[in-house]
C-alpha cells in the first residue's frame, strides 16, 4: 500500500478529463504559474492548491487521489474541473511545485476529513440496515414495482405482435414517434431497461442495408426479455437476476467484496442526451477477473467517478448479481499503486468470439464481452478500405472493427501505434464486431486510450 509517493502520469491525469475542452484548459493550468499553497500527501493521499483565476480570490482545489474525488471552489459544472486537472498535472510533472507536506491547509483538511468519516460510517454500518428499516414496506414496494413492470412487459408484447402483424416494412415509415411513445410507456412502467431497448429499435430503420433483419433480431430479443420477465419465477436465480438487471429493476451490489490490485483498462462515456453513462473496465491483477464499474451523470454533468487508464488501485469491488454480469461497485480503496505493469494476458480472435458466444448462454442479451487481444495487426479491409479488422499476427483470422468505432479518431491512434505491426488491444467483442478501447505496443507498458 502506497498512498504517498506514487504520482500519476500526466497521461493518466488527462484521461480523466470529461471532454477535449477540459483537457485543453486543464493542460494550460498544469504549470506552476497560477498555483500557490500547493501540497500533497500529509498522510491523506490528497493534492491541494490555490489557483489564481480572473477573480480576486483564488480557487481552492483539492483532490483525494486515494478515493479519487475532487472539490473545487470554482463554479464549473465540469467534473473534474480544469483546476483539478491542472493541479493533478502539476503534481504529476513537478515534484518541486507540489511537495509532500505533513498536513493539508484547513479548508482542504476539512473536506478530506469529512470524506473519511463518511467512508468509515458506510463501512461500519451493518449491511443494508437503513434501507430495510421496515422490511414489510420494502417488500410491498418491490412487489408494486414488479406488478408495474409486468404490465409494461405485457403491453410491450402486444405492441411487438401488432408490429409483426403489420410488417416491419411499415416501421420504416412510422419513424421515431411510434418508438418514443412505446418507450415512454415503458418508463411509466418503471422498466428503464425495456425503454432503452425500445428506443434503440427506433434507430434501426435508418441504420443502412440489412435493417429489417437487425430490427427483427432486436424485436425478438426484446420479446425474449418480456417472456423471461413474465416467466422469471421458473428461472434459475442467476438468470432471473440477469433478467431483472436487463429490464432495469434496480439491484444492489451484494458481496462478497473482492480485494485486488485493479488495473484500469478503459474508461469511456456514452450519452443519450439526458444521461451520461461512464463505463470503467477493471482487471484484477491477482484474481484475473474483469469488472465493470458504472457511473452516471445527469443532464450535462459528468459522472463523479473517474479513473485514469493505466492506474492500479488497491481496492475492493463488490459484484452485482446476475449470470454473465460483470458489473461491480467500487468499494473501499486502500491506495493507488501507480502501475504500468502492462496489459493483461490476451487471447486470439477465435477465442474472443468464443468468449462472447459463451456469455450468451448466461445472458442472451449481451451485446459484447470485454477481451484483450494479443498481438493483433489493425488491417484495412473491404474493397473501399473503409472497414477495418484486427487480425491475428499469423494472418489467418481476424475480428472486424465494429461500425461505431470506425468513425472514431481512436482508430487512427490504433493504426499509428501499430505501424503495421502487432499490438495488444483491449476492447469489447460483440456481434457487430470489436470495439477497441485501449492499446499497448510491444515496446512499452503504458496503455494508450483509444476512446
Amino acid at each position: 500500500m502506497n498512498q504517498q509517493g506514487v504520482r500519476w502520469t500526466a497521461d493518466q491525469v488527462l484521461a480523466l478529463a470529461p471532454d477535449a475542452a477540459s483537457r485543453k484548459a486543464g493542460s494550460r493550468l498544469g504549470s506552476a504559474g497560477p498555483w500557490s499553497e500547493t501540497g500533497c500527501g500529509g498522510g491523506s493521499g490528497a493534492v491541494w492548491g490555490e489557483c489564481k483565476g480572473s477573480g480576486s480570490t483564488p480557487y481552492r482545489t483539492v483532490v483525494d487521489t486515494a478515493g479519487v474525488a475532487y472539490k473545487c471552489s470554482c463554479p464549473s459544472r465540469k467534473f473534474p474541473c480544469k483546476h483539478a486537472l491542472g493541479l493533478l498535472l502539476l503534481w504529476a510533472s513537478d515534484e518541486e511545485a507540489v511537495q509532500e507536506t505533513q498536513s493539508p491547509p484547513e479548508w482542504a483538511g476539512e473536506w478530506l476529513e469529512g470524506r473519511r468519516k463518511k467512508a468509515e460510517e458506510a463501512q461500519s454500518a451493518p449491511e443494508g440496515v437503513t434501507r430495510t428499516a421496515d422490511p414489510e414496506a420494502a417488500r410491498r414496494r418491490v412487489e408494486r414495482r414488479a406488478e408495474r413492470v409486468t404490465a409494461g412487459a405485457v403491453e410491450l408484447e402486444q405492441r411487438l405482435e401488432d408490429l409483426l402483424r403489420g410488417g416491419l416494412a411499415a416501421a420504416e415509415q412510422s419513424g421515431y414517434g411510434l418508438w418514443e411513445e412505446t418507450a415512454a410507456r415503458m418508463v411509466d412502467a418503471q422498466a428503464p431497461g425495456l425503454a432503452g431497448r425500445v428506443r434503440e429499435l427506433g434507430a434501426i430503420p435508418a441504420s443502412g442495408a440489412g435493417w429489417p433483419v437487425r430490427l427483427l433480431e432486436e424485436c425478438a430479443l426484446l420479446h425474449l426479455l418480456d417472456r423471461a420477465w413474465l416467466g422469471r419465477e421458473g428461472l434459475p436465480e442467476p438468470l432471473a437476476a440477469t433478467v431483472r438487471t436487463r429490464v432495469g429493476v434496480p439491484v444492489a451490489a451484494e458481496g462478497p467484496a473482492v480485494r485486488d490490485r485493479w488495473l484500469v483498462l478503459a474508461q469511456y462515456d456514452t450519452s443519450d442526451g439526458k444521461l451520461t453513462t461512464r463505463r470503467i473496465w477493471l482487471h484484477g491483477r491477482e484474481s484475473g477477473r474483469t469488472a465493470l464499474v458504472l457511473d452516471f451523470g445527469a443532464a450535462g454533468r459528468a459522472p463523479g467517478v473517474a479513473l485514469p487508464v493505466g492506474l492500479e488501485l488497491d481496492a475492493e469491488l463488490t459484484p452485482y448479481p446476475g449470470a454473465g454480469q460483470l458489473r461491480a461497485a467500487l468499494g473501499e480503496q486502500f491506495g493507488v499503486l501507480g502501475g504500468s505493469g502492462g496489459p493483461p494476458a490476451g487471447m486470439r480472435a477465435a477465442d474472443a468470439v468464443a468468449a462472447y458466444g459463451r456469455v450468451l448462454r448466461d445472458d442472451p442479451w449481451a451485446e459484447a464481452w470485454p477481451v484483450t487481444l494479443d498481438s493483433v495487426v489493425p488491417t484495412p479491409a473491404g474493397d473501399a478500405g473503409d472497414t477495418w479488422q484486427l487480425a491475428d499476427s499469423d494472418g489467418v483470422l481476424a475480428l472486424p472493427v465494429a461500425p461505431d468505432a470506425l468513425s472514431r479518431p481512436g482508430l487512427w491512434t490504433l493504426a499509428a501505434l501499430s505501424g503495421g505491426g502487432p499490438v495488444t488491444v483491449f476492447g469489447e467483442c460483440g456481434h457487430r464486431g470489436f470495439t477497441p478501447l485501449t492499446a499497448w505496443t510491444p515496446d512499452g507498458t503504458d496503455g494508450v486510450p483509444l476512446t
Binding site: 477535449a20 485543453k24 494550460r28 504559474g33 410488417g167 488491417t379 487480425a391 475480428l399 505501424g419
Partner: protein, 521 residues
C-alpha cells in the same frame, strides 16, 4: 464475423416479418415467430466465427530516431490539443500563452534534436499539418516514415504523400538509374525536389539533368526549375543561364537575367556594368563631389536580351525605368572604381544631381539584396529615406545576425515600434539581448504614454515567440498591475499588465519546452 447458419427457414421468417403476418401468415402465429427469431438470433450470435484476415498493410519503415523524453511528449500533446482553440488575432487575449503559435517552434527544436514523433500523436500531428500548410515541412519531417505510412491509409492525409519530398521517397543522387527515371516520370513537385537534392550533391549532374529535358518542358515548369537554381547558384551555372536568355518565354528570360546579374563575374553582369557606368558618373562640373545621372535614351535589343523590360508600368517614365534595371543588375563592385576608390558609404553619401537620388539609391538597394552585399546594405540602410520598410527588411537580411539585431534595436530606440514589425521579422530567433530589451523598453514607453496594448499586438505576439526565454524574469515587474496614471486610457493599465503577464508566461513556457527536449528519454 461470419455465421454458418443460414437457412431458408430464417429467410422465410424475415419475409413474413417484413410484410406482416396479416398478409403473409406465419404457420404458428406471431408469438411463435418471435420465439423462433429469438432462438435464431442468439444461436447466430453464439455461433459467430472469426473472419478470414485480409492482407495486412506493409509495415511502416523503421524509424531509428530516438523517442521523445516523456515531458516533451506531453508538451507536444498539449500543443496539438490546443490547435482548435481561438486564435490570438488582435483584441484581448488574456494572460495564457497562445500555444498554437508555439507549435512551429517546438517542431523546429525537436527537429534539431532529431527525435522521432510519438506514434500515438501522429494522427493529431497530421491533422495539424493538414490545417496549416506552413507547418507541413517540419511536421512531416518529424512524423517520419510512420507518419507517411499512416497518411497512406487515410485519404484526408493525402497531402502528406504529395509533399513527401523530405528525402523519404527521393532516390540517392548517386543512384543514376533511379534519378533518371524519377526525373522523366515523376510528378512536378518530385522533380523539383529531385533537382534540388541532386544539385546539392553534384551540381554538374543537376545541370545535365535539367538540360536533358529543357526544351520539352512547359514554360511555367521551366520558370520553376530556373527559380530553383537560386539555391546554390554558382559561376558554373552561367553557361546554362546564358542560353536561357534566349528562351521563348519572357518570364524565363527575365529570371535568367536576374540570376546572372546575381553572379558578379558573369558576362551579363559585365555587360550591365558597362551600361550602368555610362549612365552614372562622378560630377566634375560642380564645386563639391557629386553624382551625375544620364538615364538611357533607348532600350535596344541587346538590353532586352539581357533581361531589361522595355515597357514601364503605368505612371513611370521609360528612361528612369530602364536606368533602374541597369543599376539593379550591375555588380556593385563596379562603383568604387568609378568614384575614385570611395567606399560604398562614401558613394551613397554623395549628392545626386537632378532628383535622381531616390531612383539610384532604390536600384542600389535592390542590387545589394540580389547580390547579398552586406557592405552596400549597411551603407544604404543608413541612407536618407532610401527605401520602404519592406526593402529595408530585405537589406537587413544581408547583414550578419548580430549586426541585424543591433541595427533594429537602434532603429526601435530611435523610432519606436510602430514601424518595426517587418524589421523584427528578419531578426534571428531568439532575439539578441539588446534587441529584446529595446522592444520591451518601447512597449513600456507606449504603455506609459497611455496607448492600449492591442495597438502593439503584432509586436507583442512576435516578442512572445522570439524573445530569449531566459529574459523572462526581466519583465515580471512590468506584469504587475500599475497605478492608473493621470490621462492614461481608461483600463489600459490592466490590459498591459495582462499582456506582459502573457509575455512572461509564454517565455517561461518556451524555456520549459526547450528544456524538456534536452532531457534524456
Amino acid at each position: 464475423m461470419t455465421t454458418t447458419v443460414a437457412t431458408s427457414a430464417w429467410e422465410e421468417l424475415v419475409t413474413s416479418a417484413l410484410l406482416g403476418t396479416d398478409r403473409r401468415p406465419a404457420p404458428e402465429g406471431v408469438a411463435s415467430l418471435l420465439d423462433t427469431a429469438a432462438l435464431h438470433t442468439v444461436r447466430r450470435r453464439a455461433g459467430l466465427l472469426a473472419a478470414p484476415a485480409a492482407v495486412p498493410p506493409e509495415p511502416a519503415a523503421h524509424d531509428p530516431r530516438p523517442a521523445l523524453p516523456a515531458p516533451a511528449r506531453r508538451r507536444l500533446a498539449q500543443l496539438l490539443a490546443d490547435r482548435s482553440g481561438p486564435s490570438g488575432a488582435g483584441g484581448r487575449r488574456g494572460t495564457t500563452p497562445d500555444l498554437t503559435e508555439l507549435l512551429p517552434q517546438w517542431l523546429a527544436a525537436a527537429g534539431l534534436h532529431g527525435y522521432r514523433a510519438p506514434a500515438s500523436l501522429l494522427p493529431a500531428l497530421l491533422d495539424a499539418a493538414r490545417a496549416r500548410t506552413d507547418l507541413r515541412p517540419q511536421a512531416l519531417a518529424f512524423a517520419g516514415p510512420r507518419g507517411l505510412w499512416l497518411a497512406g491509409l487515410n485519404p484526408e492525409w493525402k497531402f502528406a504523400l504529395r509533399g513527401a519530398a523530405g528525402g523519404a521517397v527521393l532516390p540517392p543522387p548517386s543512384d543514376t538509374g533511379a534519378v533518371q527515371h524519377l526525373w522523366e516520370e515523376g510528378l512536378f513537385a518530385e522533380r523539383v525536389a529531385l533537382l534540388a537534392s541532386v544539385r546539392a550533391a553534384a551540381p554538374e549532374t543537376g545541370r545535365t539533368l535539367l538540360a536533358s529535358t529543357w526544351s520539352t518542358e512547359r514554360a511555367e515548369d521551366r520558370l520553376m526549375f530556373l527559380d530553383s537554381l537560386r539555391t546554390g547558384l554558382s559561376e558554373a551555372d552561367e553557361p546554362f543561364l546564358e542560353q536561357t536568355l534566349s528562351d521563348r518565354s519572357r518570364n524565363v528570360r527575365s529570371t535568367a537575367a536576374e540570376l546572372l546579374s546575381a553572379l558578379p563575374g558573369s558576362a551579363l553582369a559585365g555587360r550591365m556594368a558597362v551600361r550602368a557606368a555610362t549612365c552614372v558618373s562622378p560630377d566634375r562640373t560642380g564645386e563639391g563631389a557629386g553624382i551625375v545621372v544620364e538615364a538611357p535614351h533607348e532600350c535596344d535589343a541587346a538590353m532586352q536580351r539581357d533581361g531589361v523590360v522595355p515597357t514601364p508600368p503605368a505612371g513611370r517614365g521609360e528612361r528612369s525605368w530602364w536606368l533602374g534595371q541597369l543599376v539593379e543588375a550591375a555588380p556593385l563592385s563596379v562603383w568604387p572604381g568609378r568614384f575614385g576608390g570611395r567606399t560604398p558609404q562614401q558613394i551613397t553619401d554623395l549628392a545626386v544631381s537632378d532628383d535622381w537620388g531616390e531612383e539610384l539609391h532604390a536600384a542600389w538597394c535592390r542590387a545589394a539584396v540580389r547580390q547579398r552585399d552586406a557592405e552596400w546594405a549597411r551603407a544604404l540602410l543608413g541612407g536618407p529615406g532610401t527605401a520602404s520598410l519592406a526593402e529595408r527588411a530585405k537589406l537587413l537580411a544581408t547583414l550578419p545576425e548580430d549586426e541585424r539585431a543591433d541595427w533594429v534595436a537602434e532603429f526601435i530606440a530611435a523610432h519606436g515600434l510602430s514601424e518595426a514589425f517587418q524589421l523584427l521579422g528578419v531578426c534571428a530567433v531568439p532575439w539578441a539581448g539588446p534587441l529584446g530589451r529595446a522592444v520591451v523598453d518601447s512597449l513600456e514607453i507606449a504603455r506609459d504614454a497611455g496607448s492600449y496594448p492591442w495597438s502593439f499586438s503584432g509586436v507583442m505576439g512576435l516578442a512572445e515567440r522570439c524573445m530569449d526565454p531566459t529574459e523572462a524574469s526581466r519583465f515580471e515587474a512590468l506584469a504587475a498591475m500599475p497605478d492608473e496614471a493621470e490621462g492614461a486610457a481608461p483600463g489600459a493599465g490592466g490590459y498591459w499588465s495582462e499582456a506582459f503577464q502573457r509575455l512572461v508566461s509564454t517565455l517561461r513556457l518556451r524555456a520549459a519546452m526547450l528544456q524538456e527536449l534536452e532531457a534524456p528519454a
